[in-house]
Symmetry: C2
Subunit: 329 residues, 2 copies
Amino acid sequence: MIKISSNSKLSEKIIIDKFFKKLNFNKIGTYNFENDAAYLNISSKYKTVVTTDTIVENTDFFSNDPPESIAQKILCINLSDISAMGALPKTYTLNISINSKINYHWLKKFTDTLNKLQKKYNIYLLGGDISKSKEISITATIFGEAKLKNIISQNNCNLGDDIWITGNLGNSYLGYSILKNKNFKLENKNLLYFKNKYLYPKPCMFGSKAYKYMNSAKDISDGFFGDLSKILDGKYGARINTKLIPLSDILKKILNKHNPLIRLEDILNWGDDYQLVFTSYKRNREKLLSLSKKNRVKISLVGSVIKKTGIFDDSLQIIKNIHSFDHFS
Amino acid sequence: MIKISSNSKLSEKIIIDKFFKKLNFNKIGTYNFENDAAYLNISSKYKTVVTTDTIVENTDFFSNDPPESIAQKILCINLSDISAMGALPKTYTLNISINSKINYHWLKKFTDTLNKLQKKYNIYLLGGDISKSKEISITATIFGEAKLKNIISQNNCNLGDDIWITGNLGNSYLGYSILKNKNFKLENKNLLYFKNKYLYPKPCMFGSKAYKYMNSAKDISDGFFGDLSKILDGKYGARINTKLIPLSDILKKILNKHNPLIRLEDILNWGDDYQLVFTSYKRNREKLLSLSKKNRVKISLVGSVIKKTGIFDDSLQIIKNIHSFDHFS
């Protein structure tokens, strides 16, 4: 069910046949993209977990961004949501609105990246839609499977829960800062490293491995403070040892030099790393660390859920007043 | 899981709380739109049928079209696809990209229409995403349920099958012609009637009632000839009695006057009525007519599937050569 708007040109049929058809991986339920709809082939033992996100040119990416980056972003931002629910991704639909700037070269790179990521995350394209617009706009809707009892809810943390973060924070923010500020002084190989962290985010898929030991989880898409606030949901607060916030060694060095262009506070207010923040009972520490080792996913214990609302540092000084915290401002 | 892009303004949180939250109808699995994802609450007896479509300003609608019309279009074009698969719609996700022209007044009308249609078609909003763009762009992904054995495939017609059409064709095309051509002479009440048929299409939901008697089905979104060709799939042809094409009485009168602005051929090449074309064994005629009566859905037997490829009239004169037929041109 890859459909084309009636105003489209012939070339768009070729786009489907040449670039998208192979992405169905010959899976049952896709009808080789020749039907009005498709069906999800998810076992009746599981619930289908759904998440959807749109990225738009000039808001979420720029038209001269590499198509590989745009493909990686649209899948990544949805995959991390599926992970945060404790589900395993299975398949996805894609709606792309393209303009005349998009050529075959662009489409080849874009779909080759989708193909590569589909293999990496073991998902296939279920169907979609191609239309025309002035700005490029891409929507992906990803379907995952999880047993109902294992689905992790965002607002289910308990007083005293440990607060964990997967991976490292800030690499994507530093990459973004470099792209925004040409005066950023750093070795060339590091400049490239961080730019790539921003352009090619990798979702942390730990949720489907460790759901048993997570009470609440969220992907860090609005920034650690913002997303932690959503978990705390105005009912609890958090005591965070900011020294334990996981950062890459290079980023630590840069922060220690007190570069005015990058501060820990900015990192903690910035998303785009697509790591997870989750809470867990203290008794689960060993099990989580063992799963972390087994799955080669770095996890860091950064604090705990406390009674007093707000986000506090280790000496209980307020860092963020949640009541006044507003990630939309 | 209604998410907001990080670049958005506070007002968009209000948009969700004020306009969209009520559309979840308090259904389980939506998490009151407060989670990263949602889950489909479809019984394990059924497969989940999925379809998705995007409509974009200046391609599929105009920015000064009534918001009620845009809401009706985005649901209608997806509901008719679910119906063509023989499935019953259950829930949907919505991704809207809006610009500064969209005000509260617009959003109220838009979401009030969604609310009304949700009640009519017994569906609820599962989640979605709001972002910003220059042009308004709206994606809906609709989920229906059907038993695997009852899912109707588009390319499953048999030699000798009857060819049926639901409802009337052409009302939407006439409405479009009126909107495009100010010189169209018609009584005022008729002008309004046809304009509304174009602006407020109604999907034919007969598929989930009559799936047992349908061999193949498709909603008429690319025009009767185009969609019938997809059903025939280059393997068969069709003999159509064009006198039996269902038209409203007013449209028949207009066609009989040989108005140069509207011809039967144009009607048969135009979609947007969102009726179904389906094929069925001859032995099912009585059962289909009985279901048609019971569900108050007009159905018309217009022809049959023949061996020779192409679309022919009743005297076997070629109307459309399928091999050269190209609905993208």
